[in-house]
Symmetry: C2
Subunit: 257 residues, 2 copies
DNA sequence: TGGCTTAGGTGGTCAGACCTTATCTGGGTT
DNA sequence: AACCCAGATAAGGTCTGACCACCTAAGCCA
């Protein structure tokens, strides 16, 4: 199954490297976490210069497919799929993304993920979610630690949804929001309420109640956005939303009727 | 507003270039379509080697932020935002994406975009949509041309939605599906029916009926997937969905209940 | 006028040397 | 024996400068 041209841009050598590595992955020669040969050696075996090889690796690294560690080696990415941790930030600079748009995208996608997780989640997911909820309650006094379990909770839902593409989108948005959260979580006062909402989400998913899971997730995210917004008052980036109340938006955006 | 480290990976020089260019964009010095200085000159002005500059540019190019044209120059990307035209393809190889997952993601996001477009779309969008619908009817006899207007129609909806992040996701998924469509559209027999469904979507958006727009879009995409699937019988990539009928899925996935 | 040639500018590739970082390893200290 | 630290080693990061490939447009000739 030869790989066709598929795109006219991007130089020849770069794509040669990219497609070669893609082939290795598709044929199971390389799996997540695996290390590729040293650059000098790999370049020699591909009959190209080290510089060209590096261009190709750089491309894959930018896409989040490979992970380069100075002094150690180059590896196939493991962990959850994403579109590159900085892609949203860069696109935002270029196209003028606004904070409310990020939250809106997150609301839409993550609610959907919760609903799918309720339908498709397996016992292992339920167990993992339960554990994270427990950890959240246990670390209410430690915002930094709480945040870790919060992120992990949402990540498990992404996995349980059974749709890695939507999960990847979520992971990318989440990464972009993470920095802001680190700053605000420290002064957060209502971690208990947050933990309880997560528990509700978990219960709905475990009960395989998609509608309830979606609703609980929406509610959680709306409150999270509000909390975030209050801490961030006066930030120029959080420009004004279209003239429409949040209430109206919620009704119209995420429910069909 | 100094740009913090924001990430520990990626080499120093590369990020220096990326952040420099990001700054130029944020300060309005560079706008979509603009050309950056020649590599040799630019590298000299940044006090780095041409090679390092190129790795930085390569990074931005992979992200879809910049467009490099051999023999011509390097430009800031214009057009609709996306996560890199090949990102999904690469992630798919790595994480084993399946075709039905792509369609599911598309269904979820594009239905939402249609609903948002119905709420927020302005007259200019309505006019543009009307024109594309007209063009579709006019080019029913020419599949290749029809597809162009089809793509454009969906792109306008993305714009009208007012959420460039969701639009970017849609653009990325659409790009990944485009190749397959090119093959199948040629033998397509029901372009008229397709055109009529687009007209329905347009009408719902114009009437600002979000629920109806969402519904029409869902219906359209489900049929499109079916048509695509029939033409692609026996393709190994279109692996089996979870055991659940399409009808059930639709009810549970996209409507809250 | 019109097509062909050619020169200049711009990105693409190459080669090899050298720098920086991370890890391993062995000896010396406590 | 346990610990610590300095080399040695291996891998990625950067630099230099030359040359190749592509595109455009100016200029030449028919």
């Amino acid at each position: 199954m030869p790989r066709k041209k598929q795109q006219e841009h991007e130089s020849d050598r770069t794509m040669q490297v990219v497609n070669h590595i893609r082939g290795l992955i598709e044929n199971g020669v390389l799996k997540p976490g695996d290390q590729i040969p040293p650059e000098r050696e790999f370049a020699r075996s591909l009959k190209i210069s080290r510089a060209s090889l590096r261009t190709g690796i750089g491309y894959l690294a930018a896409m989040g497919v490979m992970k380069v560690r100075h002094g150690v080696g180059t590896f196939v990415a493991d962990g959850p799929p994403d579109f590159g941790k900085t892609s949203l930030s860069l696109m935002g600079a270029l196209h003028g993304f606004q904070t409310w748009q990020m939250f809106e995208a997150r609301l839409v996608i993550e609610s959907q993920l919760a609903a799918l997780a309720a339908q498709r989640g397996r016992q292992e997911h339920h167990a993992a979610l339960a554990e994270e909820v427990a950890e959240m309650f246990a670390s209410i006094g430690s915002p930094a630690e709480y945040l870790i379990h919060d992120v992990q909770f949402h990540r498990i839902i992404s996995q349980a949804s059974g749709n890695p593409i939507l999960a990847a989108v979520m992971e990318t948005i989440g990464a972009s929001l993470y920095d802001d959260r680190l700053k605000t979580v420290e002064h957060s006062t209502d971690l208990r309420e947050s933990a309880e909402m997560h528990r509700e989400i978990y219960r709905a998913i475990r009960a395989r109640n998609a509608a309830e899971a979606r609703k609980a997730m929406e509610q959680h995210l709306r409150l999270a956005e509000e909390a975030q917004g209050l801490e961030r008052h006066g930030d120029k980036k959080s420009a004004v939303r279209p003239k429409r109340t949040r209430q109206e938006q919620g009704e119209l955006q995420t429910h069909a009727g």
